[in-house]
């Protein structure tokens, strides 16, 4: 296929890395099957990156995705016909695959590369290290394509019209919330609805609050259940979220609407006339659900979900998520693909288009397609603490089950303690 950016043409790309990779790999006649979560627009984008791999190696790359990719990968690995490379957004699921022995360790070299080249390298290595079938901990995954979750979206002009300022601390954010209410407006749009996954946006809130009220190691203990889910620290974080979401005045539609409003629809309230809300907490991907023609940076903008001024020791924690590539069938081609991901060009090509953030320090930040992306990239790079989405780290039954359900129950009226107790009970049952 036609390469998106002609090699050598635009000097902001690191073409040298491409040429070097090209020299080192010849996979003509081989096939590489990749199974990933990207569909729709994302699929077009990932194909554009894969074109470079094809071009460099001559391999036949087959990318496929599925709506039920979780189910699909379980079936395929279990039945013995996995793809060569799988890309998944859920460390919990990866851990499970690793523990069943379906993954190939990436080896020390890759580990070293991550430590050296990724910002906050250790946390990425930790994220990608799992216990194998034999119980030995090894690096099994390669993080590629990151989303920043600690973002609050707003419409600058609406702020201007009302004279609001972007808050710098959590205290300010709360004050702003109250001020908007006092002005007769509704500060937040929150929607947890997501069909079968309803509830997950709330987990991001709770995780962000965890990172802003507790040290990172508490967070780590929390996601591994080293401290119980109903620990006061966790309950506190849930209630922090509750402060925003469980107050009818604070959210568009009142608290009752939170659970059923679709997360894809709820940001649209920012752009209504008159605005239905002024603030929306969501990850970096959300602009694809803004009304058509919305230009980020002009019609909408974001700010970093601020930390408490009262807890300066916690610094600027960043919550994120992302996809991790792993080898499910050990072939030269799959090895080569992981190596390909280590080249700057594999990141830059996607960066130069849309919705791609990377902690790779070796890329040229100027290849980010626009200001807002660059700004997000910087948030990522400036993070004093980076933590992966906790619910994705928890076992599937919790992180993609009890936690979601619990959050729905919570906004539905249950107390934080009850909810946390319930989730802990579920966690106990799968131990």
């Amino acid at each position: 296929a036609e390469l998106k950016f002609k090699p050598g043409e635009d000097s902001k790309f690191n073409w040298a890395s491409f040429e070097e990779f090209k020299k080192g790999h010849d996979l003509k006649g081989q096939t590489l099957t990749i199974f990933g979560p990207w569909r729709g627009e994302d699929q077009v984008l990932v194909e554009s990156v894969l074109d470079y791999f094809r071009d460099a190696t001559g391999a036949d790359v087959k990318y496929s995705s599925s709506e039920n990719y979780e189910q699909q990968i379980v079936i395929d690995t279990q039945a013995g016909s996995p793809p060569d490379v799988a890309v998944l957004p859920q460390p919990g699921l990866i851990a499970d695959l690793a523990s069943k022995g379906y993954l190939t360790p990436l080896g020390e070299e890759t580990k070293k590369w991550l430590l050296d080249n990724y910002a906050a390298g250790q946390s990425w290595v930790d994220l990608s290290t799992y216990a194998g079938k034999d119980g030995k901990k090894e690096l099994y995954a390669f993080p590629y394509k990151i989303d920043v979750k600690s973002l609050v979206w707003y419409v600058p002009e609406n702020f201007e019209d009302s004279g609001y300022e972007v808050p710098k601390t959590m205290e300010e954010l709360k004050a702003l919330t109250e001020k908007i209410v006092a002005d007769g407006g509704t500060p937040w749009c929150i929607g947890l609805g997501s069909g079968g996954a309803t509830g997950w946006p709330a987990t991001d809130w709770v995780e962000d609050m965890m990172l802003r009220t507790q040290p990172a190691d508490v967070y780590d203990k929390w996601v591994t259940n080293a401290i119980p889910f109903n620990d006061p620290a966790v309950v506190g974080a849930i209630d922090e979220f509750g402060w925003f979401a469980k107050n009818d005045k604070n959210v568009d539609g009142g608290a009752a609407a939170v659970a059923s409003a679709d997360f894809r629809d709820s940001p649209k309230g920012l752009f209504a006339s008159p605005p239905k809300c002024y603030l929306h907490h969501q990850a970096s991907f959300i602009p694809s659900f803004f009304p058509e023609g919305t230009v980020v940076g002009q019609d909408a903008d974001f700010f970093y979900m601020p930390p408490y001024a009262s807890k300066p020791e916690l610094g600027n924690p960043v919550l994120g998520a992302g996809t991790l590539a792993m080898i499910t069938k050990d072939t030269p081609a799959s090895r080569a693909f992981i190596e390909f991901l280590e080249t700057p060009i594999a990141h830059e090509v996607w960066m130069a288009q849309t919705s791609f953030l990377t902690p790779f320090k070796g890329v040229n930040k100027d290849t980010y397609a626009n200001g807002p992306m660059k700004k997000q990239g910087e948030i990522l790079l400036n993070a004093t603490t980076f933590r992966f989405d906790g619910s994705d780290l928890m076992p599937g039954k919790i992180g993609a089950g009890a936690f979601w359900t619990g959050m729905v129950d919570y906004v539905g009226g249950k107390s934080a303690t009850d909810v946390a107790d319930g989730i802990q009970k579920a966690w106990d049952s799968i131990k």
């Binding site: 569909r39 496929s64 995705s65 039920n68 189910q71 079936i75 279990q78 002009e157 659900f289 002009q298």
Partner: protein, 381 residues
Amino acid sequence: MIASSRSPLVWLVHISVILLVVLWTLPTAGLLISSLRDKDQLAVSGWWTALSTSTQNLVFRAPGADTQVEKDGKFVIAGNMLEGQSGQVSAFGFNSKDPAAFQPGQSADLPSGEKLTVQADGAFEIASDKAMDGARGQRIFYTAAIPPRFTFDNYREVMRAEGIGASFINSLTVAIPATIIPILVAAFAAYALAWMKFPGRAILIAVVVGLLVVPLQMSLIPLLKLYNGVGAFLGVPAKTYVGIWLAHMGFGLPLAIYLLRNYMAGLPREIMESARVDGASDFDIFIKIILPLSFPALASFSIFQFLWTWNDLLVAMVFLGTGNNELVLTGRLVNLLGSRGGNWEILTASAFVTIIVPLIVFFTLQRYLVRGLLAGSVKGG
């Protein structure tokens, strides 16, 4: 049959059917209308409002300063907010707090000093004495009566998806044999279970009923393992069309056998006997008597089997694969949706694209649900 039918009851029937049809089509109508709407409208107004002129609060961003023209010493940015569409502006404003502050024709003083005038037909003019600056254009809030507006963009997008034609053929290649083969196999089995004598017949019928309940998901992993094993043994790919036909057959068989047996058991015994006396073997009877007389049952089951295989995604993904050469239509369409779902405009449009073939099948096969197929065959009862 019955000669006169001009009774109030007939009207009652018509009215009830209309009512039921309306009830049943209402959701689908919603889907259809939604698929013809602009994607942003979907989330903000009910689909039924799309049919009538509606009053909407809208925001328009005027072009930036670089489009200003100097006219009589004034700098003017002008244009039309409705962008060629029809509509009637009833109020406008520039502040999000008060989006309907002005009447059309009035001019409003913007905080930055410019004058904003909006006409009822959507024409606006921002005039300033001095040159304007800033790349960001002015937001204009307006309230307008907008007549129904539909677009085929969603369909265009769906139809333009790469490889959709190939997927269409793939789907047919899966669905047609996966409909015919199980029917053939099930019909033979149903005949045996309905009209042939052999030990264990009742048990087999019960087993068939019992197997109706086996959840598909349970079977996927053991079967795929088996496929991989057989594929490796024979040195062929594990995921083939034959494989998926057989899979669809396996999953569809219990219902097929169950439905067909029930129907065949109800055919008049004398006809079969008569054929037997005429020298026909079981095979002849099946082919020449049972099959033609079972057409209504065969047709109704084919409709369903076709539909399931056509709309199936899971089995196809598992047993056929997800590559470009094998991807079925449903798979192709699902891939159009973003990673996080939610492209409802695509969903709605693709729902209608996929529905067409099953509806054609339904319409063609419905003709075989004939009345009086057995009329004149036997007397008695």
